[in-house]
Amino acid sequence: MASTFFRTIQTHPFLLLHPTAVFRRKNGVLRCTMRSTQTQTPTQEKQQSPQIKFSPQNPNKTFYEIPKGYEAIIGIETHVQLSTLTKAFCGCPCNYGSQPNTSICPVCMGLPGALPVLNSKVIEFAVKLGLALNCKLSLNSKFDRKQYFYPDLPKGYQISQFDMPIATGGYIDLDLPVEFGGGHRRFGITRVHMEEDAGKLLHSENGDYSQEITSPTLQYVFCSFMLIFRGSMVDLNRAGVPLLEIVSEPDMRNGMEAAEYAAELQRLVRYLGVSNGNMQEGSLRCDVNVSIRPVEQEKFGTKVEIKNLNSFSAVNRAIDFEISRQVLLHSQGQGDQIVQETRLWEEGSQETFTMRKKEGLADYRYFPEPDLPEVILTKEYVNSIRNTLPELPEMKRRRYEKMDLSMQDVLYLANDINVADYFDATIARGADAKLVANWIMGDIAAYMKNEKLSINDVKLKPDELAKLIASIKSGTISGKIGKEILFELLAKGGTVKGLIDEKDLVQAIDPVEIGKMVDKVLSDNLKQLEQYRGGKTKLQGFFTGQVMKISKGKASPGLLNKILLEKLNAKN
């Protein structure tokens, strides 16, 4: 990828127009100035490329219809950053968001003489994901070097897997959201392979990073190392962080399917605990390939790669935009203008722009990595990992489906493994599945959303939720009281029983007692009673409220209404 990216920099008009992009030596330390080319490129191309404008049709919710007579073919390459404690080939901690170049060592800096040693967790995670994607695992695989030059690639090659990936030929099952018409889909997985991430180039606005040079947070201060340039800085914290690349079959047909594929993959890696799957942080990165063809045509059209997709909705909208762009070109007889290229999705304008044209295939000169022995898996090892796999999203959904939950409920509950675990733990204590689902998806979800909490953060534990539901079901407390104490339990914790006792919340179900309260309310509000009896029956709600107030909300609503109506109408 980057070798061509690098070519873009060379030929880029931006650099020709702006002689500020200079590498120069200062104070004996060599520094380089380089402007952000990645963000500049799209705007440049915008001016050069013919203005074909599309307004993405309802970018948010509704399902984009591909124009009749055309079919889109979509395949996705996903990079998943593994949540191992240390990097793939050295002992540096994988710290997201730490100070630049504080998590580096001779190995991930590519110093002379440093050698990679494989972190066995990477294999474990790869096997886990391979199994979860129903792949065939290669008992013998190896690492290869993928070679290209770029400042964020310290060794001048990336350790990756080329012709013997660790897992091949699997599939992923998913259920489409109900709002998009629902349905089950199975998408093929071509391969899963292990590789290392590159570093990052950071670009400063004022072109000066001298502050960081003196930063005491720099763990390594090597006298002759120039990690920091003027105007452009290489941060190698990410260099050597383990990745799994998952390549799908070209099985998706629209943006929504592609986004759902990515979402299911995220669910899977989170269920497995191999990655946090966070798209904003770049822990899960999708590059999609899109081509279109007339439905009767067998040959695939020219495929276009789209990058810079930082959310599922970006995946969805970028693909739909790209499909409509390609279909329009094709239908106007300009099909030859669809060329093999890499385009960037721009969130602001909701469009894709040319990043670089592919000038033939890049030659990465892959060859077997001589510094690492072959990766040999035993059947016992694979089986031991298979036995520790958790229940996966697809299995969970099918199980929930059998509980007579709606697909909406099923999808919600299985979406987040923590929610699913919470749900499972609650029903394991005898609570009714549908009721639990309602509580979780209703008030608990709303609370979490307001407070920006995850289900693990709420103080109400599944055990107490089950007790709460049981208390309502048994009539000990009213549903209304239940709701009230729910929020207290969510925020402060405690037990249902403790709260009921403490606040004396047991539902009043004694008709005599309620009758007394009703009598009191009626005699205190004679004016309203008169109005009611004069035909203003809407006032029933007023009386109900008054009684509830006196009963401190404990009066059983059914009973209260029954007695109230009797008394209101009695002397009529």
Partner: protein, 481 residues
Amino acid sequence: MLSAMQHPLLFSRFPRHISSSFAKSRPLHILSSAQPTAGLSVADQSPPSNSQILSIRHSLLSGHFTATQLAESYLNRLKLTEPQLNSFLHISNNVLKEAQEIDDKIKKKEEVGPLAGVLVGVKDNICTADMPSTGGSRILEGYRPPFDATAVKRVKELGGIVVGKTNLDEFGMGSTTEASAFKVTANPWDLSRVAGGSSGGSAAAVSARQCVVSLGSDTGGSVRQPASFCDVVGLKPTYGRVSRFGLMAYASSLDASGCFGSSVTDAGILLHAISGHDRFDATSSKQEVPDYASQFISATFLKSRPLEGLRVGLIRETIDEGVDSGVKSVIHGAASHLEQLGCMVTEVSLPSFSLGLPAYYILASSESSSNLSRYDGVRYGNQVSADELNSLYEDSRAKGFGPEVKMRILMGTYALSAGYYDAYYKRAQQVRTLIWESFKAALDENDILISPAAPSAAYKIGMMLTSSVIFFFFLLSLSFL
């Protein structure tokens, strides 16, 4: 016994212009006066008499001389000989300080390691934390690694003192040390000739007694050939025996750190010191390290035919045409000496032998083209100021690398390119397997195989300046495609 410290022999065998300067300075005065004579109780252990390491250890522990005196003596000789030899790229400033530390320990009767006080030369492509490590290349001029190579670390842990960094062909690519970016090392036996290479500095330094032993690296003969040229013992261990961590990679699947000594015992002791598994090198062997050193027995304690029954194969292809008659006669002489010691020497043929060199050149060039990618001037080493990124890479590498290195990078890049990979790299790997098999077969029939280390004695300086790689790739393009 232990007379090696005296070096009278060395003097007589040195070229006149060097030995005369030695004689004037009397650098070995301390050593000769401290020469141990009688009363040594080492006889029952019967150590080999020619081991400098053992005799240094004995002398230090018995108080015949101090590590500081020893170091001063070596440094004096080094300073005297270096202007003519050019075996070092950098000389440590800490030698006397480290020697003093050893003396302090001995004084306090603390335990000192088996290499205590032994001055070790380290090839400059092996990283040392406190000294520059350039690999003989301009692109790393002034570069100081933040860590010691595992081999160096082990030497230091056992008490060895790194005396300096020895000259080499740039990144180990060459066989004369003339491809060093900095200087040409002369052969101590004839200053008009090369010391061999690529570990020429390490070989010359031991040969001229500028240090006791030295570390080199051998990818395709880079220890054995200069050892042969400089008349010292050179040892390339089995791949994986010694950790490669800290050795600047040339051809990763072939590189091995090796040892130079003035005796087999010294090379063995040094090998023992640096061998063994290293968690920083995934290709290092986990096999147990035998104690090579303790198995050496002084020749005087051996029976008349100590090697009775040992099967020795003399590789026919290595004494064929193209090999100097002098070399042939030395090898035949060695073979008959082995026979006298009881060996059964037979000639063996390795049919795939001739394919070895072309396969080596392809694999080594391919791997080096990749290994040298990291020298881009971005993070360390020399960077050229440039207007844009491509120029930064191109100019830094164009100015940083010498012609031999560039040639190999070009050839290796070519051999790994799409469309050529199968014809070159893959085919060479297949040939490698064939060669491995034929060696295996020969070793099934024989206990050891012998061959000359080089087809001739040392060349005249300036004779071999044309890159051999060009020649081989020219040859290959005819035979492989």
